[in-house]
């Protein structure tokens, strides 16, 4: 009897510990149903980036210094603070929603429209960004297929829907709603500045990837999809969102 139990124990333990040498497949590659279309769009976006966005981002860097750019990106992220507040509320996170409201109130006034993050400094209201994509994830909405859109870039069906909703919830859109003249004059430059400011921050990052990557499309997709896995699904935050794949393989060392 004891022998039998012991053997079972040994087998179970053996299975548990040898599980470390069974290679697990990494699913990211199989999530791209429209690869042909996506690659074409990615190529189009990269060309657009090379001729339009990258030169604009470099120009922006040339005519400003880090101090100015930090103030600009502060103002830009302050504008969308209410969007985070609403989304946190929709996710049932009242504390974080309050944090966003507090940040918006303090940074818009004392922080001179968000140029200075006074809320994060002396008031200890740390940045807490979220979006409708994350809200949808909280509501158990599935991610949908991976899609690369012209100009807007890498998305999934859910992240794309989220972006559209967040766009309508943007305070600048709401403030200028109804007056098509002011609307266009404010929203186009704003959207342009958001893209340029974001691109400026990743000049070195993208350059380094262009240099080292043998397939920029594949590595971008892999990184994008891995990054999305950190979102809480159905309101449950995983204890560890770290990709826990098997890092052993059956090769002799």
């Amino acid at each position: 009897m004891l022998t039998k139990r012991c053997m079972t124990l040994a087998v179970v333990l053996g299975v548990c510990f040898s599980a470390g040498v069974v290679r697990a497949d990494i699913p990211v590659e199989n999530e791209d149903k429209f690869e042909g279309f996506n690659r074409a769009m990615f190529g189009f976006n990269m060309t657009l980036d090379e001729y339009v966005l990258e030169p604009l981002a470099k120009g922006y860097r040339a005519i400003t210094n880090q101090y100015v750019r930090d103030r600009v990106s502060g103002v830009l992220s302050n504008i969308v603070e209410p969007v985070s507040a609403v989304n946190h509320l929709l996710q049932g996170d009242v504390v974080k929603s309050g944090q966003n409201i507090g940040r918006f109130a303090l940074n818009s006034t004392l922080g001179l429209l968000g140029m200075y993050d006074v809320a994060g400094g002396g008031w200890h209201l740390a940045p807490a960004k979220t979006n409708f994509d994350e809200t949808l994830a909280t509501w158990c909405v599935k991610d949908g297929p991976y899609l690369v859109f012209p100009v807007l870039g890498m998305n999934t069906m859910r992240s794309f829907s989220g972006e559209i909703v967040d766009g309508f919830a943007n305070p600048l859109y709401i403030a200028t709603y109804g007056d098509s003249n002011i609307n266009a004059k404010v929203l186009y430059p704003y959207a342009g500045l958001v893209m340029i400011s974001k691109r400026e921050k990743s000049i070195e990052f993208i350059d380094s990837f262009k240099q080292s990557s043998v397939d920029l499309y594949a590595i971008s997709r892999s990184a994008f999809l891995q990054n999305r896995k950190k979102m809480a699904r159905c309101g449950v935050v995983e204890e560890s969102a770290t990709p826990d794949y098997d890092f052993d393989f059956d090769v002799e060392e």
Partner: protein, 198 residues
């Protein structure tokens, strides 16, 4: 008597596995030293690009298990590769990583790593050391996780996971498609060319 022998074997089995467990405190201390050496003494110093790259080469060879990462990155293609292909791939992969990462580490200039905790992984000789990098200027802090492997008394980094993006998985996904379409030799050649260019 036979039963007793089995029991002894069982206990020994459990004991050796318990002993093989990684020392989490030492793993964290290892990453603390790595970030201090790498960021404070290298990135924040005013040394020239060439000097920095040389120091990085030393740091990378000592603290990163690029052979281990390289094997993981090739995945099933590692087993079908010839010894020459394996060597050439690892050499090119190591060189390219040293160059890319010495440049990428510059992004951490002036930033500090805050150590959170150490969490277990599915592999018993490996743990995740969780850190947070304060990005400043009202930006959300970035989550940087170091996958550390213990081998004997030495610790080595086998993966760096930034905002949930694993470098090893990204490279594995990238190379798998490339090898499938063009073959391993083409990949090695491409990596060699890229390593020479930078």
């Amino acid at each position: 008597m036979k039963k007793l022998a089995f029991l002894v074997v069982c206990l020994a089995f459990v004991a050796t596995n318990a002993l093989a467990e990684i020392n989490t405190k030492k793993a964290e201390a290892f990453i603390e030293k790595l970030t201090t050496d790498g960021i404070e003494e290298l990135v924040n110093s005013n040394a020239s690009k060439a000097v920095k790259q040389e120091k990085f080469r030393k740091l990378f060879n000592e603290d990163l298990d690029l052979d281990f990462i390289g094997k993981f990155v090739l995945g099933r293609y590692w087993r079908t590769a010839t010894p020459t292909q394996q060597k050439d791939f690892l050499d090119a992969y190591r060189e390219l990583n040293i160059q890319t990462w010495s440049a990428r580490f510059d992004e951490f200039k002036g930033k500090t790593f805050e150590f959170q905790n150490v969490t277990p992984s599915t592999s018993q000789d490996q743990v995740f050391v969780n850190t947070i990098v304060d990005m400043k200027n009202g930006q959300q802090p970035a989550k940087v996780v170091w996958r550390v492997r213990q081998k004997g008394e030495t610790f080595k980094v086998v993966d760096i996971i930034i905002e949930n993006v694993s470098l090893a998985i990204s490279a594995r996904n990238e190379y798998a498609g490339y090898i499938k379409a063009n073959g391993l030799d083409a990949l090695i050649k491409d990596l060699q060319t890229r390593a020479k260019k930078s």
